[in-house]
Symmetry: C2
Subunit: 158 residues, 2 copies
């Protein structure tokens, strides 16, 4: 307990916070999953597509790091997105090993539609909240976004 200072016992308040954040994240995603999957966009696909759309052409390598998943997972995710015509693989002129992923027009459109659908669902859930609560969530989302990023990778989307 007193040996390594970076493994201190967390307080009950911290335990509660972690629990609630975890639980809230799970239930939020489950609720949104229903909407998204109806349009053929699962959460992982949506997240990856978002990075591709907003991050411009990006190497699978980088995408894997940004999404915190292994290269094979990204490879198959890209396969699926490409099969559906949402992205395309293009060659990197400087390095023939890398495959750059670029969103197609269709991909951009679908992302926009999915985001609208999602926000409508969330908006319905958020309706009973006060404006103050909404601002609270807004700020909390930014804080979470800041701490959850694995490294610096200047994206805005997902």
């Amino acid at each position: 307990m007193t040996s390594h200072r970076d493994q201190e016992s967390p307080s009950p308040a911290e335990i509660g916070l972690a629990d609630r954040l975890h639980s809230a994240a799970i239930h939020l995603l489950r609720r949104l999953r229903v909407e998204d999957s109806a349009a053929g966009l699962s959460a992982p696909r949506l997240s990856a597509l978002s990075v591709i759309v907003f991050g411009g052409p990006i190497a699978m390598n980088e995408l894997a790091r940004a999404e915190q998943v292994s290269p094979p997972t990204i490879s198959r995710l890209a396969d699926g997105l490409q099969t559906d015509g949402l992205i395309e693989r293009i060659a990197d002129p400087g390095d023939r090993r890398v495959q750059l992923l670029r969103a197609t027009r269709k991909g951009r459109r679908l992302l926009e539609e999915g985001r609208l659908r999602r926000v409508r669902t969330l908006a319905r859930a958020l309706e009973p909240l006060s404006a103050a609560d909404r601002r609270l969530l807004e700020r909390a989302a930014r804080v979470l976004q800041r701490i959850s990023l694995p490294d610096r990778h200047p994206r805005q989307g997902s």
Copy 2:
């Protein structure tokens, strides 16, 4: 755009909020997944186990609703938890169709350990935050928890 009034176009602020919440939830879970899976507890298992531990013996039916997944999914999830000795199926005295799920001592212990591990990870990520930001997250988690619940089901855990 103007036809059905219950599908109003959301404001850019709402779109941004939905996007950030979605993204934050995904990345938060990805980060915690690494810790949890090391202990054999995936996010879905953890969430279900939490409901079972804190919600007392619960029918699969109810658990499926609480977790917002289909009955077969809960059935297999329960199989896995039971195989690992974390829960047990007991008969409902009043209705012989239902299988009540009850946590074992081992299940309670593992949940507690997982929650500690998780909170340590989160605590590390939360370290650079101010106390005000932490309180912000605490309140936001409660708000999210309130709106993400599918129905009334008086739990506290996940």
